[in-house]
């Protein structure tokens, strides 16, 4: 099953992980120090984020570092912009409907 990126971000721990790896690439152990959960739990969150391609694992020597995929995050920003755009379009259409209604009203008043 393809993971849903927004579902991934809905979880507070995963959001915190994103905020941390945004600053620098980190290992699961280093990340786990910031949370009261187990390393296993952090690894599970990382796996979900990786499946969504929000973070990418990088092998460096013996350690695996996770770094943030900035472009993917920017895409989400674009997605938010798109939601705003929906309202813009909807309301431009309403402008047209109102203009027609106004004309009809003026005609009937004459």
């Amino acid at each position: 099953m393809k993971r849903d990126v927004f579902q991934a971000i809905a979880d507070p721990t995963r959001r915190a992980i994103i905020a941390l790896v945004a600053l620098q690439a980190m290992t699961p152990n280093a990340l786990a120090e910031h949370f009261s959960t187990t390393r296993q739990a952090v690894s599970k969150h990382l796996r979900i984020l990786a499946e969504c391609e929000l973070v990418t694992p990088e092998q460096r020597g013996r350690e695996i570092y996770y770094r943030l995929e900035i472009n993917k995050m920017k895409k989400i920003d674009e997605w938010l912009e798109q939601y705003r755009q929906i309202w813009e379009t909807r309301y431009e259409q309403l402008d047209e409907v109102l203009a027609v209604m106004k004309k009809k009203q003026e005609k009937s008043e004459k």
Binding site: Q7, A22, W87, R90, V97
Partner: protein, 171 residues
């Protein structure tokens, strides 16, 4: 148009001024023949199957995709103050009006300023983790308003942090 995502309050607020007096704007929001002309952003269309604009009544409608696919939703009117404010509870549904919860509470406020009218729409999400298809409300992608709220602040922070980090790395 003002478009504000408030993570703490779990709301999205959209404010817009229209060049028409309040009676007309109110009609455009509360009569199905008029609503269907503008509610769905092109290329989608809105098809209202049933609508009784009264407290306890509802609008049952579909967003129709260009390929004919339908996404159904129900808006149950919970409060109406004529020409000034109305509220509905919005939820997606199947073609038999079986609701897919959780939903969201919408408040529409109409303010007349001389020849123009300002409409404020406030959308409150019951659940922050609410999963739904914005597509049904005219979007083109999957997601939830609730999650959008979470994202706004996060993205601003992440982008700033990452750009700072990137510029430091480049130095």
């Amino acid at each position: 148009m003002d478009f504000i995502v408030d993570k703490e309050a779990q709301t999205v607020e959209i404010t817009r001024e229209f060049d028409a007096e309040r009676d007309l704007v109110w009609a455009a929001y509360t009569q199905k023949e008029l609503l269907d002309q503008w509610w769905a952003p092109k290329p989608l269309t809105s098809d209202t199957v049933a609508m009784d604009f009264e407290v306890g009544g509802r609008r049952f409608y579909a967003m129709v995709m260009p390929d004919g696919q339908r996404r159904w939703a129900v808006q149950k009117y919970t409060s109406i103050t004529p020409k000034s404010e109305f509220k509905f509870f919005n939820a997606f549904s199947d073609e038999n009006e079986n609701l897919q919860l959780p939903g969201s509470d919408w408040t529409f406020t109409f303010t007349e300023n001389g020849d123009t009218t300002t409409v404020r729409v406030s959308i409150y999400n019951e659940s922050r983790e609410r999963m739904e298809m914005i597509i049904a409300d005219g979007g083109f992608r999957k997601g939830t308003e609730a999650q959008l709220q979470n994202l706004q602040d996060l993205l601003a922070k992440l982008t700033a942090d990452a750009e700072t980090a990137a510029s430091h790395a480049a130095e």
